[in-house]
Amino acid sequence: MTLATDTASGHYGPYGGRFVPEALMAALDELDAAFRDAIGDPTFTATLSDLERDYTGRPSPLTRARRFEVECGGARVYLKREDLNHTGSHKINNVLGQALLTTRMGKRRVIAETGAGQHGVATATAAALLGLECTVYMGEEDTRRQALNVARMRLLGAEVVPVLNGSRTLKDAINEAMRDWVTHVADTHYLLGTVTGPAPFPEMVRHFHSVIGRETREQILAIEGRLPDAVVACVGGGSNAMGIFSAFLDDPSVRLVGYEAGGEGVETGRHAARFVAGTPGVLHGARTYVMQDAWGQTVPSHSISAGLDYPGVGPEHAWLHDSGRATYEPVTDAEAMEAFELVSRTEGILPAIETAHALAGACRLGRELGRDAVIVVNLSGRGDKDVVTAARWFGLGVDPTE
């Protein structure tokens, strides 16, 4: 990457870095060294790619969305099917990489934060596979919204700890996971689920998801014989987006667009549009765009999708935004749900509501670019976990929780 990034010190322009208690600095140095050592070790990379093939089910297909694209201006739209991975989302890519790293560092326990539960389920899965102890922190509010995923994690042998402080959502689950980590760092790895947090997490998590971009590039070149005009993804913390963007950063002809949660509308204040309403600040160990008030207190975010409901964003996205290499646009709850319904009915794919934001964005972009354009959407996760939310939204009268 030719932009002014300095991954050695964990900075992306003015963003990134490490804003953590001193007690964690040694662990971050250890992790950084272990990560670099591992990715240079053919045994490690072979073990990981075997797991990706035989356990996750990679490579994931690139599916042309022939009926969906007709509704979106006629551009050719391809879906990178991360929803077909084991556990149903892209999250497993990062989790397997970090879980292998955990055993390599001789640690016996992983902890994780989760919002919707996808990362928690993926972590519990990898922990079961590799025989690691697993504790997942989840905001109490989210444990109620995503009771099914709580059950999944417990069935997989993980301990799920509902977090009762602060706003009782993802950001507070991260605080609690950091507190656990600082207390048990000798035998515990914090398996952070996205491209946020102190260095080396943003770089490492992107690395383990870069397989999405590499496959996509190869697949689209094989099908279309050329690079796409645009690659788009939803952006909560931004791991699925960094994974697919990473293979196209040096191709200026490829537009990179991230869609963040516009919630009930940016003008209502109830949203997670960090690049519209956020400002540079420090949250959870890194400098990045943060939704904050005039005093630097974090402002709670809002989105219909728990996975995008986060007041910060990965620091590399902050830099891609400022440098202009990628652009970021909000998609409202209503637009996302419209796309959710459209892709369900035209393609027979129930996407995660997070992903539906990217699909809505792709549709908007397709209409703008017109018939000859090629757009790739990272279909980051499946929507089974969102059936209740969607049924409620569309008033289908089949609320399974009632």
Binding site: P21, E22, A27, V282
Partner: protein, 265 residues
């Protein structure tokens, strides 16, 4: 080092004892009442007062302090309010520092914060989530304003890091006694003496030890090897358990006096 902060440690050294450093969050239970509590801490014998700046994501704090700062934020405590509290307690004779997570300071503006803190009588700032690596501008600004900087060392810090942190520190050095968050503990970690010993080999800065100290006996045992004994959660808990502000002042002054005896044994 800031002269008033230096004087506190010099006097304690002269009296062959450790300094008592007490933390309390500004704005809890209200701005005015937090001043009353802090005044009681000083009357009881706190030498150096850490005024906490409430922050929405206090990831180094345990449940006791979390609950207090959440409550302070609910009643609307702002950075300006914190500076007013510093000003008041300074007028009452305290030597105040601010303890703050980094984002509120960055948002307020480094120079503006350091300048106003100096005007309010503040002598230094403790930044628990800022390491020297990210502190370039902060170091320049605080040097300019004569505000002391306190960074942290932990049992996990390597010798190289202890040296780096010591070089960047111009107040006292804050040694976290244990790997963990703030809170009252039955026993102060046995990792602390070894950490302080390692610190002594690289710096002459005064060393304060915190995390887990709440009783006279614990204060005495830490005072045996450290220059400062830091107590936070115990004061906050005393206020949380008090039935009203008068009872809180009484309890806090008594606790402070007890700890002050501890640092003198």
């Amino acid at each position: 080092m800031n002269g008033r902060q230096q004087a506190v440690f010099a006097r304690a050294a002269q009296e062959r004892r450790a300094a008592l450093i007490g933390y309390f969050p500004a704005g809890f239970p209200s701005a005015a009442d937090s001043v009353r509590v802090m005044a009681a801490m000083v009357r009881g014998g706190v030498d150096l007062l850490e005024v906490g700046l409430p922050y929405s994501d206090p990831l180094m704090d345990g449940p006791v302090i979390q609950a207090a700062v959440e409550s302070a934020l609910r009643v609307g405590a702002t950075t300006d309010d914190v500076l007013v509290v510093v000003d008041r307690v300074s007028e009452l004779g305290a030597v105040p520092l601010v303890m703050s997570y980094w984002n509120p300071i960055e948002r307020y503006g480094l120079e503006r914060f350091a300048t106003r803190l100096g005007e309010a009588g503040g002598v230094g700032v403790i930044t628990p989530d800022l390491t020297p690596e990210e502190a370039g501008e902060w170091i320049a600004v605080t040097d300019e304003c004569g505000i002391g900087r306190t960074f942290l060392v932990a049992p996990s810090s390597t010798d190289v890091r202890i040296e780096r942190v010591s070089r960047a520190t111009t107040g006292f050095l804050y040694a976290a006694s244990t790997m963990g968050v703030t809170g009252v503990r039955d026993q102060v970690s046995d990792a602390a003496p070894a950490l302080v010993e390692r610190v002594r080999t690289v710096t002459d800065l005064p060393v304060g030890v915190g995390l887990g100290v709440s009783t006279e006996q614990q204060a005495a045992s830490v005072a045996a090897y450290a220059d400062g004994v830091i107590v936070g959660s115990a004061f906050v808990r005393a206020v949380q358990e008090a039935s009203d502000i008068a009872a809180a002042e009484y309890a806090v002054e008594a606790l402070s006096a007890e700890l002050a005896r501890g640092v003198r044994t």
